[in-house]
Amino acid sequence: MKILHWLALPLLAAIVGIVAWAALAPVQFASREELFEIPKGTWARRMAGDKVEILPSRIRLTLGVHDVLLLRNLDDVPQVFGPTVMMPGQSFRLPFEVASSYNFACTAHASGQMTIIVYPQPTSPWQRLSWRTIALWDAVT
């Protein structure tokens, strides 16, 4: 019983530490841009029967810290990418200024839709904790 007690204490301390970090540490990203690229040779791979998925059907952004969608077509042919057609070598940079859920008709996805969810910038401890919980949930599901 005493051994269990001594094991539970460090575990509890670790959980409290993680929750405190999740609530207090500011949400930061290396860049405000969420970048997706169509690599060279994608069209050839698709023609060969590979199912190449580049853009997820749901993208998560956060105002103020990570709120720009950046798409690049590095392939040699035009590609339907996200909401639009992109020429070889072309990029598309879409900034967001309002937290909301944005739906785009997108033929590249089986559902025919691409959704971009823009969350408000988490500024309070509770918002940061919620934001990180949702991010963790999105990562594991």
Binding site: T84, L94, Y102
Partner: protein, 197 residues
């Protein structure tokens, strides 16, 4: 001209070149809409227009064009978008004469030129609509990456791309404004495109 004067001229030229390149980059990144870089020439099309004439995109070179796709029975997206574009024209004042709104139907079965004219005029008489055969319109949608699909059911509704393309005076596809932006965002971007080189 002395060597010093020549050097001064070269330095001035370089400063002007760098300045103009930077200004262009700033213009593009300052848009509220999503920006294409480098911009490509907008695919041209020729369709029966709601004004009774041929609607050719290239005929609007010299103006900024806002190009959208929808249908007259649309209950959700199109009335909001067209209502916003009506406000844009109003807010632009005299500059509105340098802007053309073009709306192309995804429902040629119901939207002939007369119906498009009546519908668009209810928002703004200067808006021009485009219709055509299913094959003609499908080709235009493909060129612009527009998705449109008829929804199964008796009401003949469609799901369709809801954004608006911004085309500059040179006929280049510069940007894409997602659904939901307010009139002021369009006005902001149109003014930048009107003043851009």
């Amino acid at each position: 001209m002395t060597m010093r004067e020549r050097l001064n001229r070269i330095v001035l030229l370089l400063v002007l070149l760098i300045g103009s390149a930077t200004a262009h980059a700033e213009d593009a990144s300052a848009l509220k809409a999503g920006v294409f870089e480098p911009p490509r020439e907008a695919p041209d099309f020729a369709l029966p227009g709601s004004n009774g004439s041929e609607l050719k995109l290239s005929a609007y070179r010299g103006k900024v064009v806002l190009l959208g796709f929808g249908f007259t029975s649309c209950a959700a997206v199109c009335p909001i978008t067209l209502g916003t574009l009506k406000q844009v024209n109003k807010k632009l004042g005299a500059q509105a004469s340098e802007l053309q709104v073009i709306y192309i139907t995804v429902d040629p079965e119901h939207d002939d030129a007369a119906r498009l004219k009546k519908y668009l005029s209810s928002f703004d008489p200067n808006f021009i609509g485009g219709t055509g055969s299913e094959a003609q319109l499908a080709a235009v949608r493909k060129d612009f990456g527009i998705a449109a699909e008829k929804v199964a059911g008796p009401d003949g509704s469609y799901t369709h791309s809801s954004f608006i393309y911004l085309i500059d005076r040179q006929g280049r596809l510069r940007a894409l404004m997602p659904f939901g932006h307010v009139a002021d965002d369009y006005v902001h971007d149109v003014r930048i495109l009107l003043t851009a080189p």
